[in-house]
């Protein structure tokens, strides 16, 4: 049986690629600081930095709130590889016994975390969007954001286990997961949902260098090439932002504006069926019942009135922003933000403001 008293502190796996920290690492440090405050008892926020020649990243972690940085550096860890990273992280966890480990739910985090959790024989909760320690705060969160009946939860419960909330069934259902009997408690967290702390330059922290025990034979997958190309693999289903155009664009050239819009906001171009049927854009861009079902963080509906088949394919988007001349159309009614106006005038203004950010 695991002795829980041996397990202290919160670790954040600070994912870096090419010597640059991923944004989600800083978001998780911010979240870990909040959780550490709820736990109290001198809980420290520690980042785990794995790579090669990445010493300078520790200061960045301190500036965003970390108390300590565990550094694991080795030429064999230069680029992410499942076998090497799993081994050194598991070794570090066994030695230093964190109570909680948070990782970003990136393609790398979701490759690494299950492997680490399975080797440690502990629980892992995927793709969390909300975390709590205190039961009282959990109840407050649930009452503000969910339909959960909280009357059966005791707000005085002193439990300090991590409550990990995540969407399931395509976002139709939420579940809060706990890991009662094993340590560490592990969670991958969706990028973009937690808040970074304000950067305080020159913040002090402690660097702890860990010596990895790793040989070339441990690495069973060889990296032949790493290619950076934002565009190629971006698809509507994975897109965080979608800029969709419909009949209101007027003609095929309208999609030039939509494309510029999408490029500016880092999104993908979508369309309504009407625009596809008119021959303005390829079917592969179509959102809706006969096209692709999407659930981005932000869905811009530009000149789309909102036929029921289109709505069926995008209505679970986190935020819907509609731009349309007709304030009475279904899309404007559904939207979180409805802008009545000429999209040819409004979109260029949004582009210029977004650019300025």
């Amino acid at each position: 049986m695991t002795n829980f008293a041996d397990y202290k502190n919160i670790w954040v796996y600070a994912e870096q690629r090419n010597g640059k920290l991923m944004n989600v690492a800083l978001e998780l440090i911010g979240e870990a600081c909040r959780l550490a405050g709820e736990i109290g008892e001198g809980t420290e926020v520690c980042t785990l930095l794995v790579g090669n020649d990445i010493e300078d990243l520790a200061q960045e972690c301190f500036d965003y709130g970390a108390d300590k940085a565990y550094m694991i550096e080795d030429p064999l860890l230069e680029k992410y590889n499942t076998d090497g990273y799993t081994k050194v992280i598991v070794d570090a966890v066994r030695e230093h016994k964190p109570s909680i480990i948070l990782l970003g739910a990136t393609h790398i985090g979701r490759d690494l975390a299950p492997r680490v959790a399975a080797r440690l024989d502990t629980g892992l909760t995927a793709d969390c969007t909300h975390l709590n320690i205190s039961v009282k705060h959990y109840i407050e969160y649930a009452e503000a954001n969910t339909t959960l009946n909280t009357s059966t939860i005791d707000s005085e419960d002193p439990d300090k286990g991590l409550k990990m909330t995540r969407p399931a069934f395509g976002g139709n259902l939420m579940a809060t997961i706990v890991c009662k009997n094993t340590r560490p408690q592990m969670s991958t967290v969706r990028p973009g949902v937690m808040d970074k702390r304000e950067k305080v330059e020159g913040s002090k922290g402690k660097i702890v260098n860990l010596k990895p025990v790793l040989s070339k034979d441990d690495l069973r997958v060889e990296i032949l090439k790493v290619v950076k190309s934002a565009k190629e693999l971006v698809s509507l289903t994975d897109a965080e932002i979608i800029c969709s155009g419909g009949r209101g664009l007027g003609d095929a050239t309208g999609f030039e504006l939509i494309r510029e819009f999408a490029d500016t906001v880092g999104g993908v171009v979508g369309s309504s069926r009407a625009a596809v049927d008119a021959g303005w854009i390829d079917h592969s861009h179509q959102v809706g019942q006969t096209g692709t079902t999407v659930k981005p963080k932000i869905y811009f509906a530009c000149g789309i009135s909102g036929a029921i088949q289109h709505l069926a394919g995008m209505q679970t988007s986190d935020i819907i922003i509609a731009i349309n001349k007709d304030s009475e159309c279904p899309m404007m009614k559904l939207a979180d933000y409805a802008i009545e106006g000429d999209l040819n005038k409004v979109i260029p203004e949004i582009i210029s403001l977004w650019d300025a950010e």
């Binding site: 499942t82 799993t86 990136t106 393609h107 790398i108 490759d111 299950p114 959790a117 399975a118 024989d121 502990t122 629980g123 892992l124 995927a126 649930a142 954001n145 969910t146 339909t147 959960l148 399931a168 069934f169 395509g170 139709n172 259902l173 939420m174 579940a175 809060t176 997961i177 706990v178 890991c179 009662k180 808040d195 069973r220 997958v221 990296i223 032949l224 790493v226 290619v227 190309s229 934002a230 190629e232 693999l233 963080k297 932000i298 986190d318 935020i319 922003i321 404007m332 009614k333 979180d336 933000y337 802008i339 009545e340 106006g341 409004v346 260029p348 203004e349 949004i350 403001l353 950010e357």
Partner: protein, 262 residues
Amino acid sequence: MNIIVCVKQVPDTTEIRINPETGTLIRDGVPSILNPDDANALEEALKIKDKDPESKITVITMGPPQAKEMLQECLAMGADDGILLSDRALGGSDTWATSNAMAAGIKKIGNYDIIFSGRQAIDGDTAQVGPQIAEKLDIPQVTYVADYENTKEGIVVKRALEDGYEILKLQTPCLLTAIKELNEPRYMSIRGILRAAKQEIKVWGADDIGVDKTVVGLKASPTNVFRSFTPKPKGAGVSIDGDTPREKAEHLMHGLKEKHII
């Protein structure tokens, strides 16, 4: 080549609706389907068999007895064998416990070169069972596989990243998780359906696979559901006002920033 494909029967989440009065999921009449990413996993195995007809494809799943239907479908698409792990002792397993059971089942099948699975299932979206099976079998893994090639020097795959991709090489045995960019899954053929109808799906219980019962099922699972619920229904939206397009755009940006959306 001996290939094992791990699949899961899932409710078609695009058909799930929420009862606005009770805030609960309406699951009645929602069809059960072969998990989409798993269809890509099976397709890649079938493509290998197209080239090398000596290859044998075994499809394995864990679930209730009705998951047999999905395995029949996989056979109708061209798989050789179907195995269902089904036992009350396995019920309520989280990803760790599921991977213990699946790894035990795969060990019983034995003698495999490649294990394919889908990246993730659309009901839980965890993407954890594939890598955890690989860990329990102590074999290398590649997740998010978008392209596959068998070369003289080994298996070469393209792994999708958010900002690009990697080309990786590894040796068998290994586990690969498929994403939809990998291929276009085929349909069942009439001949396949007729052949599958005559075939028996093997059903294995916990004792058959010799798994330690303290590492499977609800009680053994390190993670448990504390509560489940539906999100609050969406409130009414706001209409962005402003006298000029510029003002409207400014008000929008302000609103998005205030709510931490950007």
